[in-house]
Protein backbone atom coordinates (compact mmCIF):
# COMPACT_ATOMS: atom_id res chain seq x y z
CA UNK A 1 0.00 0.00 0.00
CA UNK A 2 2.77 2.44 0.94
CA UNK A 3 5.99 2.24 -1.04
CA UNK A 4 8.89 4.50 -0.23
CA UNK A 5 12.16 3.85 -2.02
CA UNK A 6 15.40 5.61 -1.27
CA UNK A 7 13.64 8.74 -0.12
CA UNK A 8 15.94 11.67 0.33
CA UNK A 9 14.94 14.93 1.97
CA UNK A 10 17.27 17.88 2.08
CA UNK A 11 16.31 21.00 3.93
CA UNK A 12 17.84 24.25 2.88
CA UNK A 13 16.82 27.46 4.68
CA UNK A 14 18.48 29.61 2.03
CA UNK A 15 21.33 29.41 -0.42
CA UNK A 16 23.82 30.87 2.04
CA UNK A 17 23.52 27.97 4.44
CA UNK A 18 24.64 24.39 4.31
CA UNK A 19 21.88 22.07 3.22
CA UNK A 20 20.64 19.78 5.95
CA UNK A 21 20.08 16.16 5.02
CA UNK A 22 17.03 15.05 6.95
CA UNK A 23 16.31 11.74 5.24
CA UNK A 24 19.15 9.88 3.63
CA UNK A 25 17.73 7.21 1.35
CA UNK A 26 14.94 5.76 3.45
CA UNK A 27 13.01 2.69 2.36
CA UNK A 28 9.59 1.97 3.77
CA UNK A 29 6.97 -0.55 2.74
CA UNK A 30 3.60 -1.04 4.32
CA UNK A 31 1.22 -3.74 3.12
CA UNK A 32 -2.51 -3.29 3.13
CA UNK A 33 -4.03 -3.75 6.57
CA UNK A 34 -0.66 -3.65 8.30
CA UNK A 35 0.27 -1.46 11.22
CA UNK A 36 3.81 -0.20 10.83
CA UNK A 37 5.51 1.98 13.42
CA UNK A 38 8.41 4.25 12.58
CA UNK A 39 10.45 4.45 15.74
CA UNK A 40 13.26 6.84 16.44
CA UNK A 41 14.46 9.61 18.74
CA UNK A 42 12.99 13.11 18.51
CA UNK A 43 14.22 15.13 15.58
CA UNK A 44 15.33 12.13 13.57
CA UNK A 45 13.06 12.93 10.67
CA UNK A 46 10.28 10.40 11.21
CA UNK A 47 7.60 13.10 11.21
CA UNK A 48 9.12 14.47 8.00
CA UNK A 49 8.82 11.04 6.46
CA UNK A 50 5.19 10.81 7.52
CA UNK A 51 4.44 14.24 6.09
CA UNK A 52 6.02 13.25 2.82
CA UNK A 53 3.74 10.22 2.62
CA UNK A 54 0.81 12.49 3.55
CA UNK A 55 1.65 14.78 0.65
CA UNK A 56 2.42 17.76 2.90
CA UNK A 57 6.15 17.91 2.28
CA UNK A 58 8.34 17.68 -0.78
CA UNK A 59 11.39 15.48 -1.16
CA UNK A 60 14.52 15.59 -3.20
CA UNK A 61 15.19 12.01 -4.23
CA UNK A 62 13.63 8.58 -4.46
CA UNK A 63 10.05 7.45 -4.99
CA UNK A 64 6.99 7.72 -2.80
CA UNK A 65 3.85 5.83 -3.75
CA UNK A 66 0.58 5.09 -2.03
CA UNK A 67 -1.72 2.47 -3.53
CA UNK A 68 0.59 2.29 -6.53
CA UNK A 69 0.17 5.95 -7.43
CA UNK A 70 2.93 8.50 -6.89
CA UNK A 71 2.25 11.03 -4.14
CA UNK A 72 1.75 14.54 -5.49
CA UNK A 73 -0.05 16.13 -2.57
CA UNK A 74 -2.68 15.35 0.05
CA UNK A 75 -5.28 12.89 -1.18
CA UNK A 76 -8.50 11.12 -0.36
CA UNK A 77 -6.70 7.87 0.25
CA UNK A 78 -4.77 9.18 3.23
CA UNK A 79 -5.86 10.85 6.47
CA UNK A 80 -3.75 12.18 9.28
CA UNK A 81 -3.99 12.35 13.07
CA UNK A 82 -1.91 15.01 14.76
CA UNK A 83 0.05 15.06 18.00
CA UNK A 84 -1.56 18.32 19.16
CA UNK A 85 -5.02 17.15 17.97
CA UNK A 86 -5.48 20.20 15.65
CA UNK A 87 -9.20 20.46 16.30
CA UNK A 88 -11.04 23.64 15.28
CA UNK A 89 -11.81 25.35 18.61
CA UNK A 90 -14.90 27.14 17.30
CA UNK A 91 -16.51 23.96 15.98
CA UNK A 92 -18.41 21.27 17.83
CA UNK A 93 -17.35 17.65 18.04
CA UNK A 94 -19.74 16.80 15.20
CA UNK A 95 -18.44 19.61 13.04
CA UNK A 96 -14.85 18.66 13.70
CA UNK A 97 -15.47 15.04 12.81
CA UNK A 98 -17.19 16.11 9.61
CA UNK A 99 -14.49 18.64 8.70
CA UNK A 100 -12.73 16.55 6.09
CA UNK A 101 -16.06 15.60 4.56
CA UNK A 102 -17.25 19.21 4.46
CA UNK A 103 -14.09 20.21 2.59
CA UNK A 104 -15.03 17.71 -0.09
CA UNK A 105 -18.55 19.05 -0.37
CA UNK A 106 -20.31 16.13 1.25
CA UNK A 107 -24.02 16.65 1.77
CA UNK A 108 -25.48 17.33 5.19
CA UNK A 109 -26.99 13.84 5.21
CA UNK A 110 -23.64 12.21 4.45
CA UNK A 111 -21.94 14.23 7.15
CA UNK A 112 -24.64 13.43 9.63
CA UNK A 113 -24.46 9.72 8.94
CA UNK A 114 -20.68 9.61 9.20
CA UNK A 115 -20.69 11.56 12.46
CA UNK A 116 -23.40 9.39 13.94
CA UNK A 117 -21.53 6.22 13.07
CA UNK A 118 -18.15 7.42 14.27
CA UNK A 119 -19.23 9.09 17.48
CA UNK A 120 -20.40 5.68 18.65
CA UNK A 121 -17.20 4.03 17.49
CA UNK A 122 -15.00 6.39 19.47
CA UNK A 123 -17.25 6.34 22.51
CA UNK A 124 -18.27 9.99 22.52
CA UNK A 125 -22.00 9.65 22.04
CA UNK A 126 -23.72 12.50 23.86
CA UNK A 127 -20.77 14.84 23.27
CA UNK A 128 -21.64 15.79 19.69
CA UNK A 129 -22.42 19.40 20.55
CA UNK A 130 -19.52 20.00 22.88
CA UNK A 131 -16.54 22.13 21.97
CA UNK A 132 -12.92 20.97 22.13
CA UNK A 133 -12.26 23.20 25.13
CA UNK A 134 -14.82 21.17 27.03
CA UNK A 135 -13.07 17.89 26.29
CA UNK A 136 -10.09 16.21 27.87
CA UNK A 137 -6.98 15.53 25.79
CA UNK A 138 -7.90 11.91 25.30
CA UNK A 139 -11.38 12.81 24.12
CA UNK A 140 -10.00 15.41 21.75
CA UNK A 141 -7.69 12.89 20.15
CA UNK A 142 -10.60 10.49 19.77
CA UNK A 143 -12.30 13.24 17.80
CA UNK A 144 -9.10 13.53 15.77
CA UNK A 145 -9.24 9.81 15.04
CA UNK A 146 -12.90 10.00 14.10
CA UNK A 147 -12.20 12.92 11.78
CA UNK A 148 -9.55 10.87 10.01
CA UNK A 149 -11.81 7.83 9.72
CA UNK A 150 -14.74 9.92 8.49
CA UNK A 151 -13.13 10.52 5.10
CA UNK A 152 -12.75 6.76 4.64
CA UNK A 153 -9.08 6.77 3.78
CA UNK A 154 -7.15 3.69 2.76
CA UNK A 155 -4.27 4.73 4.97
CA UNK A 156 -4.21 6.28 8.44
CA UNK A 157 -1.14 8.39 9.20
CA UNK A 158 -0.55 8.98 12.89
CA UNK A 159 2.02 11.53 13.99
CA UNK A 160 2.93 10.71 17.59
CA UNK A 161 -0.82 10.71 18.24
CA UNK A 162 -0.64 10.02 21.94
CA UNK A 163 2.49 12.00 22.74
CA UNK A 164 0.55 14.82 24.38
CA UNK A 165 -1.36 12.53 26.70
CA UNK A 166 -0.60 11.20 30.14
CA UNK A 167 0.36 7.55 30.26
CA UNK A 168 -2.96 6.33 31.65
CA UNK A 169 -4.98 8.06 28.93
CA UNK A 170 -2.42 6.98 26.39
CA UNK A 171 -2.91 3.30 27.22
CA UNK A 172 -6.65 3.68 26.85
CA UNK A 173 -6.27 5.25 23.44
CA UNK A 174 -3.74 2.68 22.31
CA UNK A 175 -6.26 -0.01 23.17
CA UNK A 176 -8.92 1.95 21.29
CA UNK A 177 -6.67 2.18 18.26
CA UNK A 178 -6.03 -1.55 18.36
CA UNK A 179 -9.77 -2.16 18.51
CA UNK A 180 -10.41 0.30 15.66
CA UNK A 181 -7.81 -1.41 13.54
CA UNK A 182 -9.30 -4.77 14.32
CA UNK A 183 -12.70 -3.49 13.24
CA UNK A 184 -11.77 -1.48 10.15
CA UNK A 185 -8.65 -3.23 8.89
CA UNK A 186 -7.12 0.08 7.77
CA UNK A 187 -3.49 0.37 6.84
CA UNK A 188 -1.75 2.33 9.59
CA UNK A 189 1.56 4.15 9.52
CA UNK A 190 2.43 5.39 12.98
CA UNK A 191 5.30 7.59 14.05
CA UNK A 192 6.44 7.32 17.64
CA UNK A 193 9.40 7.74 19.95
CA UNK A 194 7.99 5.24 22.43
CA UNK A 195 9.43 1.73 22.29
CA UNK A 196 6.50 0.44 24.32
CA UNK A 197 3.97 2.02 21.98
CA UNK A 198 5.63 0.66 18.86
CA UNK A 199 5.80 -2.83 20.32
CA UNK A 200 2.24 -2.67 21.55
CA UNK A 201 0.63 -1.46 18.38
CA UNK A 202 2.68 -2.51 15.36
CA UNK A 203 3.07 -5.57 13.16
CA UNK A 204 6.43 -4.28 12.01
CA UNK A 205 8.73 -1.61 13.39
CA UNK A 206 11.06 0.50 11.27
CA UNK A 207 13.94 1.87 13.31
CA UNK A 208 15.34 5.18 12.13
CA UNK A 209 18.74 6.53 13.05
CA UNK A 210 19.20 10.09 14.27
CA UNK A 211 19.53 12.72 11.56
CA UNK A 212 20.43 12.18 8.75
CA UNK A 213 17.89 9.42 9.04
CA UNK A 214 18.56 6.00 7.64
CA UNK A 215 16.72 2.80 8.29
CA UNK A 216 18.64 0.93 10.97
CA UNK A 217 16.41 -2.10 11.04
CA UNK A 218 12.98 -3.44 10.27
CA UNK A 219 11.67 -5.74 12.95
CA UNK A 220 8.69 -8.04 12.87
CA UNK A 221 6.96 -7.82 16.23
CA UNK A 222 5.61 -11.36 15.91
CA UNK A 223 2.81 -10.56 18.30
CA UNK A 224 -0.64 -11.98 17.55
CA UNK A 225 -3.72 -10.08 16.47
CA UNK A 226 -5.89 -9.34 18.27
CA UNK A 227 -3.41 -8.50 20.98
CA UNK A 228 -3.76 -10.64 24.10
CA UNK A 229 -5.33 -8.90 27.08
CA UNK A 230 -2.25 -8.82 29.31
CA UNK A 231 0.53 -7.99 26.92
CA UNK A 232 2.83 -7.10 29.81
CA UNK A 233 2.84 -10.71 30.90
CA UNK A 234 3.78 -11.99 27.48
CA UNK A 235 7.44 -12.94 27.33
CA UNK A 236 7.63 -12.11 23.65
CA UNK A 237 6.55 -8.54 24.39
CA UNK A 238 9.31 -8.01 26.95
CA UNK A 239 11.90 -9.63 24.71
CA UNK A 240 10.84 -7.48 21.78
CA UNK A 241 11.19 -4.28 23.75
CA UNK A 242 14.54 -5.35 25.09
CA UNK A 243 15.73 -6.06 21.58
CA UNK A 244 14.50 -2.69 20.34
CA UNK A 245 16.31 -0.82 23.11
CA UNK A 246 19.52 -2.65 22.30
CA UNK A 247 19.29 -1.77 18.64
CA UNK A 248 18.53 1.85 19.39
CA UNK A 249 21.73 2.12 21.40
CA UNK A 250 23.86 1.41 18.35
CA UNK A 251 22.94 4.03 15.74
CA UNK A 252 24.85 2.67 12.78
CA UNK A 253 23.17 1.46 9.63
CA UNK A 254 23.56 -2.19 8.79
Amino acid sequence: MIDVRQCRKVYRADTTREPLVVLDGVDLHVSEGEVVAVLGPSGCGKTTLLRIVAGLASWEGGEVRVGGAPVTGPGRDRAMVFQDFALLPWATVSENIAFGLSLRGASAAERHDAVHRLVGMIGLRGFEDRYPSQLSGGMQQRVGLARALAVEPRVLLLDEPFGSLDSITRRGLQDDLLALHQETGKTVLLVTHSVDEAARLADRIVLLSPRPARVLDVIDTGLPRPRPAHLERDARFAALKDDLWERLKQPSAR
Partner: protein
Protein backbone atom coordinates in the same frame (compact mmCIF):
# COMPACT_ATOMS: atom_id res chain seq x y z
CA UNK B 1 0.17 26.20 61.01
CA UNK B 2 0.91 28.38 58.02
CA UNK B 3 -0.65 31.60 56.74
CA UNK B 4 -4.25 31.30 55.59
CA UNK B 5 -4.82 32.33 51.98
CA UNK B 6 -6.55 35.69 51.60
CA UNK B 7 -10.18 35.16 50.70
CA UNK B 8 -12.53 37.89 49.53
CA UNK B 9 -15.19 38.94 52.00
CA UNK B 10 -18.79 39.00 50.75
CA UNK B 11 -18.77 42.74 50.01
CA UNK B 12 -15.45 42.58 48.17
CA UNK B 13 -16.67 39.57 46.24
CA UNK B 14 -19.73 41.40 44.99
CA UNK B 15 -17.54 44.34 43.92
CA UNK B 16 -15.13 42.02 42.17
CA UNK B 17 -17.96 40.59 40.08
CA UNK B 18 -18.50 43.99 38.49
CA UNK B 19 -21.83 44.39 36.76
CA UNK B 20 -24.13 46.69 38.65
CA UNK B 21 -21.54 47.23 41.36
CA UNK B 22 -19.45 49.21 38.88
CA UNK B 23 -22.13 51.91 38.93
CA UNK B 24 -21.03 52.78 42.45
CA UNK B 25 -17.96 54.82 41.44
CA UNK B 26 -20.15 56.64 38.93
CA UNK B 27 -22.73 57.47 41.59
CA UNK B 28 -19.99 58.60 43.95
CA UNK B 29 -18.41 60.71 41.23
CA UNK B 30 -21.67 62.39 40.27
CA UNK B 31 -22.39 63.14 43.92
CA UNK B 32 -18.94 64.64 44.38
CA UNK B 33 -19.39 66.73 41.22
CA UNK B 34 -22.79 68.00 42.35
CA UNK B 35 -21.67 68.96 45.84
CA UNK B 36 -18.28 70.25 44.76
CA UNK B 37 -19.69 72.49 42.04
CA UNK B 38 -22.39 73.91 44.32
CA UNK B 39 -19.98 74.61 47.14
CA UNK B 40 -17.10 75.92 45.08
CA UNK B 41 -19.13 78.02 42.64
CA UNK B 42 -17.04 79.27 39.75
CA UNK B 43 -17.33 78.14 36.19
CA UNK B 44 -18.23 74.48 36.61
CA UNK B 45 -21.98 73.92 36.72
CA UNK B 46 -23.26 71.17 38.99
CA UNK B 47 -24.17 67.75 37.54
CA UNK B 48 -27.89 68.38 37.87
CA UNK B 49 -27.66 71.53 35.76
CA UNK B 50 -25.75 69.70 33.03
CA UNK B 51 -28.19 66.82 32.90
CA UNK B 52 -31.09 69.27 32.80
CA UNK B 53 -29.43 71.13 29.97
CA UNK B 54 -28.89 67.90 28.06
CA UNK B 55 -32.51 66.90 28.45
CA UNK B 56 -33.64 70.36 27.32
CA UNK B 57 -31.36 70.24 24.30
CA UNK B 58 -32.59 66.80 23.33
CA UNK B 59 -36.17 67.96 23.52
CA UNK B 60 -35.46 70.82 21.17
CA UNK B 61 -34.41 70.45 17.54
CA UNK B 62 -30.75 71.42 17.10
CA UNK B 63 -29.14 68.69 19.21
CA UNK B 64 -31.15 65.93 17.63
CA UNK B 65 -30.31 67.27 14.19
CA UNK B 66 -26.66 67.41 15.14
CA UNK B 67 -26.75 63.90 16.55
CA UNK B 68 -28.29 62.52 13.40
CA UNK B 69 -25.69 64.21 11.27
CA UNK B 70 -22.81 63.02 13.42
CA UNK B 71 -24.08 59.48 13.82
CA UNK B 72 -24.75 59.30 10.12
CA UNK B 73 -21.19 60.26 9.22
CA UNK B 74 -19.91 57.90 11.90
CA UNK B 75 -21.87 54.92 10.61
CA UNK B 76 -20.96 55.35 6.97
CA UNK B 77 -17.34 56.22 7.74
CA UNK B 78 -16.88 53.21 10.01
CA UNK B 79 -18.33 50.81 7.45
CA UNK B 80 -16.05 52.18 4.72
CA UNK B 81 -13.04 52.17 7.02
CA UNK B 82 -13.78 48.63 8.10
CA UNK B 83 -14.25 47.30 4.56
CA UNK B 84 -11.07 48.93 3.27
CA UNK B 85 -9.15 48.05 6.41
CA UNK B 86 -10.18 44.39 6.24
CA UNK B 87 -9.26 44.09 2.56
CA UNK B 88 -5.88 45.73 3.06
CA UNK B 89 -5.26 43.76 6.25
CA UNK B 90 -5.99 40.49 4.46
CA UNK B 91 -3.72 41.49 1.55
CA UNK B 92 -0.82 42.21 3.87
CA UNK B 93 -1.29 38.91 5.66
CA UNK B 94 -1.70 36.74 2.59
CA UNK B 95 0.67 38.29 0.10
CA UNK B 96 4.38 38.41 0.94
CA UNK B 97 4.82 40.63 -2.11
CA UNK B 98 2.33 43.24 -0.91
CA UNK B 99 3.79 43.05 2.56
CA UNK B 100 7.36 43.44 1.32
CA UNK B 101 6.55 46.37 -0.93
CA UNK B 102 4.06 48.32 1.12
CA UNK B 103 4.33 47.58 4.82
CA UNK B 104 6.92 50.30 5.34
CA UNK B 105 4.57 52.90 3.92
CA UNK B 106 1.62 51.57 5.84
CA UNK B 107 3.53 51.73 9.12
CA UNK B 108 4.69 55.26 8.34
CA UNK B 109 1.19 56.46 7.50
CA UNK B 110 -0.19 54.78 10.58
CA UNK B 111 2.26 56.44 12.92
CA UNK B 112 1.36 59.92 11.71
CA UNK B 113 -1.20 61.46 14.06
CA UNK B 114 -4.42 60.83 12.23
CA UNK B 115 -5.63 64.36 12.93
CA UNK B 116 -3.16 65.51 10.28
CA UNK B 117 -5.26 63.80 7.64
CA UNK B 118 -8.11 66.17 8.37
CA UNK B 119 -6.82 69.15 6.40
CA UNK B 120 -5.58 66.78 3.66
CA UNK B 121 -8.99 65.17 3.24
CA UNK B 122 -10.65 68.56 3.49
CA UNK B 123 -8.62 69.81 0.59
CA UNK B 124 -9.63 66.77 -1.45
CA UNK B 125 -13.32 66.61 -0.60
CA UNK B 126 -14.06 70.19 0.30
CA UNK B 127 -16.65 71.27 2.84
CA UNK B 128 -19.01 68.38 2.37
CA UNK B 129 -20.41 65.29 4.00
CA UNK B 130 -17.86 63.34 2.00
CA UNK B 131 -15.08 65.06 3.87
CA UNK B 132 -16.56 64.10 7.19
CA UNK B 133 -17.08 60.50 6.17
CA UNK B 134 -13.57 60.27 4.76
CA UNK B 135 -12.13 61.54 8.03
CA UNK B 136 -14.05 58.97 10.06
CA UNK B 137 -12.99 56.27 7.59
CA UNK B 138 -9.34 57.21 7.87
CA UNK B 139 -9.48 57.05 11.66
CA UNK B 140 -11.02 53.59 11.42
CA UNK B 141 -8.96 52.18 8.57
CA UNK B 142 -5.48 51.90 10.02
CA UNK B 143 -6.41 50.10 13.20
CA UNK B 144 -8.69 47.66 11.39
CA UNK B 145 -5.99 46.86 8.82
CA UNK B 146 -3.30 46.41 11.45
CA UNK B 147 -5.36 44.17 13.71
CA UNK B 148 -6.66 42.15 10.76
CA UNK B 149 -3.12 41.46 9.57
CA UNK B 150 -1.94 40.58 13.05
CA UNK B 151 -4.99 38.40 13.68
CA UNK B 152 -4.43 36.45 10.47
CA UNK B 153 -0.75 36.03 11.21
CA UNK B 154 -1.65 34.74 14.65
CA UNK B 155 -3.66 31.81 13.33
CA UNK B 156 -2.14 28.59 14.72
CA UNK B 157 -0.23 27.11 11.78
CA UNK B 158 -1.06 23.62 13.00
CA UNK B 159 -4.71 24.20 12.13
CA UNK B 160 -3.95 25.36 8.61
CA UNK B 161 -1.61 22.39 8.24
CA UNK B 162 -4.40 20.05 9.30
CA UNK B 163 -6.74 21.59 6.73
CA UNK B 164 -4.09 21.12 4.03
CA UNK B 165 -3.70 17.50 5.08
CA UNK B 166 -7.41 16.98 4.52
CA UNK B 167 -7.14 18.43 1.04
CA UNK B 168 -8.30 22.00 1.63
CA UNK B 169 -7.60 24.36 -1.27
CA UNK B 170 -5.91 27.67 -0.50
CA UNK B 171 -9.33 29.31 -0.59
CA UNK B 172 -10.82 26.73 1.76
CA UNK B 173 -7.89 27.12 4.12
CA UNK B 174 -8.64 30.82 4.31
CA UNK B 175 -12.41 30.69 4.78
CA UNK B 176 -12.67 27.49 6.81
CA UNK B 177 -9.73 28.02 9.14
CA UNK B 178 -7.86 31.32 8.94
CA UNK B 179 -10.82 33.67 8.94
CA UNK B 180 -12.76 32.01 11.78
CA UNK B 181 -9.56 31.74 13.81
CA UNK B 182 -8.81 35.43 13.27
CA UNK B 183 -12.40 36.62 13.76
CA UNK B 184 -12.38 37.28 17.54
CA UNK B 185 -9.29 39.45 17.30
CA UNK B 186 -10.61 41.20 14.23
CA UNK B 187 -13.76 42.06 16.13
CA UNK B 188 -11.75 43.44 19.02
CA UNK B 189 -9.91 45.58 16.48
CA UNK B 190 -13.19 46.81 15.06
CA UNK B 191 -14.40 47.85 18.50
CA UNK B 192 -11.22 49.77 19.18
CA UNK B 193 -11.34 51.32 15.72
CA UNK B 194 -14.94 52.43 16.29
CA UNK B 195 -13.89 54.31 19.40
CA UNK B 196 -11.19 56.03 17.37
CA UNK B 197 -13.78 56.79 14.73
CA UNK B 198 -15.88 58.67 17.27
CA UNK B 199 -12.86 60.84 18.02
CA UNK B 200 -12.30 61.32 14.32
CA UNK B 201 -15.89 62.35 13.85
CA UNK B 202 -15.54 65.02 16.51
CA UNK B 203 -12.15 66.27 15.39
CA UNK B 204 -13.34 66.49 11.83
CA UNK B 205 -16.48 68.36 12.78
CA UNK B 206 -14.67 70.72 15.06
CA UNK B 207 -11.98 71.62 12.57
CA UNK B 208 -13.97 71.78 9.41
CA UNK B 209 -17.70 71.59 9.46
CA UNK B 210 -19.95 73.72 11.56
CA UNK B 211 -22.60 71.05 11.76
CA UNK B 212 -22.95 68.00 13.90
CA UNK B 213 -21.92 67.60 17.51
CA UNK B 214 -18.42 68.85 16.85
CA UNK B 215 -19.86 71.99 15.33
CA UNK B 216 -22.03 72.58 18.36
CA UNK B 217 -19.04 71.99 20.63
CA UNK B 218 -17.15 74.65 18.78
CA UNK B 219 -20.04 77.11 19.05
CA UNK B 220 -20.50 76.51 22.76
CA UNK B 221 -16.77 76.74 23.26
CA UNK B 222 -16.67 80.16 21.72
CA UNK B 223 -19.51 81.26 23.96
CA UNK B 224 -17.90 79.70 27.05
CA UNK B 225 -21.14 77.80 27.61
CA UNK B 226 -19.67 75.27 30.00
CA UNK B 227 -22.98 73.62 30.86
CA UNK B 228 -23.68 73.22 27.17
CA UNK B 229 -20.24 71.79 26.51
CA UNK B 230 -20.51 69.29 29.34
CA UNK B 231 -23.99 68.32 28.19
CA UNK B 232 -22.57 67.64 24.75
CA UNK B 233 -19.76 65.59 26.29
CA UNK B 234 -22.40 63.42 27.93
CA UNK B 235 -24.14 63.06 24.58
CA UNK B 236 -20.84 62.07 22.96
CA UNK B 237 -20.17 59.45 25.60
CA UNK B 238 -23.66 58.15 24.92
CA UNK B 239 -22.93 57.96 21.19
CA UNK B 240 -19.67 56.13 21.83
CA UNK B 241 -21.33 53.58 24.10
CA UNK B 242 -24.10 53.10 21.59
CA UNK B 243 -21.61 52.57 18.76
CA UNK B 244 -19.71 50.01 20.82
CA UNK B 245 -22.91 48.19 21.73
CA UNK B 246 -23.91 48.03 18.07
CA UNK B 247 -20.52 46.61 17.04
CA UNK B 248 -20.64 43.99 19.78
CA UNK B 249 -24.21 43.02 18.87
CA UNK B 250 -23.28 42.75 15.19
CA UNK B 251 -20.30 40.63 16.13
CA UNK B 252 -22.46 38.27 18.15
CA UNK B 253 -24.99 38.02 15.35
CA UNK B 254 -22.41 37.26 12.66
CA UNK B 255 -20.17 35.09 14.80
CA UNK B 256 -22.39 33.43 17.38
CA UNK B 257 -19.54 31.37 18.71
CA UNK B 258 -17.65 34.47 19.80
CA UNK B 259 -19.10 34.57 23.25
CA UNK B 260 -17.39 31.24 23.76
CA UNK B 261 -14.06 32.51 22.60
CA UNK B 262 -14.56 35.59 24.79
CA UNK B 263 -13.83 38.75 22.80
CA UNK B 264 -11.49 40.95 24.84
CA UNK B 265 -12.56 44.50 25.71
CA UNK B 266 -11.04 47.11 23.40
CA UNK B 267 -7.99 49.15 24.34
CA UNK B 268 -8.74 52.89 24.31
Amino acid sequence: MGTPEAALGPLEASFARGGRASLLPLAAGVLAWELGARLAGGMVPPASAVVLRLVTMLAGGPLRQALLISIGSLAVGVVIGWLLGTVVGVLFARSPVVDGLFSVYFDALMSVPTAIYVPVLFSVFGVSRGSQIAIVASFTFFLVAATTTSALRGVPPGLVDMARAFGASRRQQFFAVELPAAAPRMLTGLRAATMRAVKGMLIGEMIIAIRGIGGMLKTFGVRLDVAGILALVLAIVGVALLADAVVVALGRAVLPRLSRAGAAPPAP
